[in-house]
Symmetry: C2
Subunit: 217 residues, 2 copies
């Protein structure tokens, strides 16, 4: 049932909580109060408590939060307790770099296949996985219960490929192409627009420079 909608802002903060709790766990910290965590993470204790209470009461008055328990629970909320079979579509530099990103596996993101549209790449192995052509996609997706596609094709090919992925029942697309995908409600899209991130950096750089223009005299 769980009718209440949780805001995007909260969801974006969950992985960060998860990361800090993971570090505390590695340091064998048993419990932590929202106040101590707030100092570490540089957010307000109030926000931490509000955020967590969207999902349930994980703490205990007078004690705080049990690190291991909270870590596990947030992991479950994020769906990290489940294996997510995924494919990379676009075996260029970025696709290959992501294929070699071993960390993902630890969190349940299992790379099952790599695809591309360029016939020259067919059969070449990346991290032991042979690049396949799109014609093999429908069968492969069904056979391996693929949920997530990492879309690392260039802009001009990405839109058509998204279509194909959707037709074949993809559940989620991690989109690295510089376009906004047009997808039905039941297909989740998470965008990583690297060039936009770099432009934000550039803006801040220019802004800072303008504000301190007098300093340089």
């Amino acid at each position: 049932m769980e009718a209440k909608q949780i805001s995007k802002a909260v969801i974006k903060r969950l992985p960060r909580y998860y990361r800090y709790l993971g570090e505390l766990l590695e340091d064998n910290v048993e419990r932590i109060s929202s106040n101590d965590l707030s100092k570490k993470m540089r957010v307000t204790a109030s926000q931490i408590r509000q955020d967590l209470n969207n999902f349930g009461g994980f703490g205990q008055q007078g004690y705080g939060y049990n690190v291991k328990y909270l870590y596990t629970e947030i992991g479950k909320i994020l769906g990290l307790d489940i294996v997510h079979p995924m494919i990379i579509v676009g075996a260029g530099n970025l696709g290959q770099a992501l294929a070699n990103y071993v960390e993902f596996e630890k969190r349940g993101f299992k790379l099952a296949g790599i695809f591309d549209v360029n016939p020259v790449l067919e059969g070449i192995a990346v991290r032991g996985i042979e690049i396949q052509m799109i014609s093999d996609l429908p069968f492969f997706m069904k056979e391996n219960n693929i949920e997530i596609a990492i879309l690392t094709l260039p802009k001009n090919k990405a839109r058509d490929m998204a279509e194909i992925l959707i037709e074949n029942g993809i559940k989620a697309i991690w989109n690295f192409a510089h376009i906004d995908l047009d997808t039905p409600d039941d297909v989740i899209v998470e965008n990583v627009h690297l060039s936009e991130s770099l432009m934000t950096l550039s803006y801040n750089l220019s802004q800072y420079r303008q504000e301190h223009i007098d300093d340089e005299k």
Copy 2:
């Protein structure tokens, strides 16, 4: 002077406006109203006008916005009219992938050097640029007026490297390591936490599944 502080939310939207205006420009569209743009971008016309008016009045009543002019002006706001010399620090898969990302050059982001801590990599060329060791960093940074460092080292090495970059006067760090960097106010940090982005996707996937658990019966 420009005392008023522009919100992060607005700044994050600027590159997206820039992208859409670039596409309109390619399609030889001369002018566009906030209303038409709002339909394309799926934001409210009101937000577009509010956002732009943070930086000045770029439109004209009864006419709308001149696409080319607005595109150029947003480019200036983002600092894309200036060349930003940058280096990659961490010549692993991701670092090499970013080195091959030719699109950046178009926007004024000029890759000048690639560095790593692993001696095995010394002298190997990536896109015609030889990987250098950190001992060469101080001289190279001064000589080439490096502004931006792309930090693609693993977590455990990234923090120390950020220190070194700061000591040598880096202006901005585009951080791909899974840590929150501790930097002085005059060093800009823009984070790309890929694993957090993937977890957000995973959350939405799990959430959707739970909401539609009945459908599968």
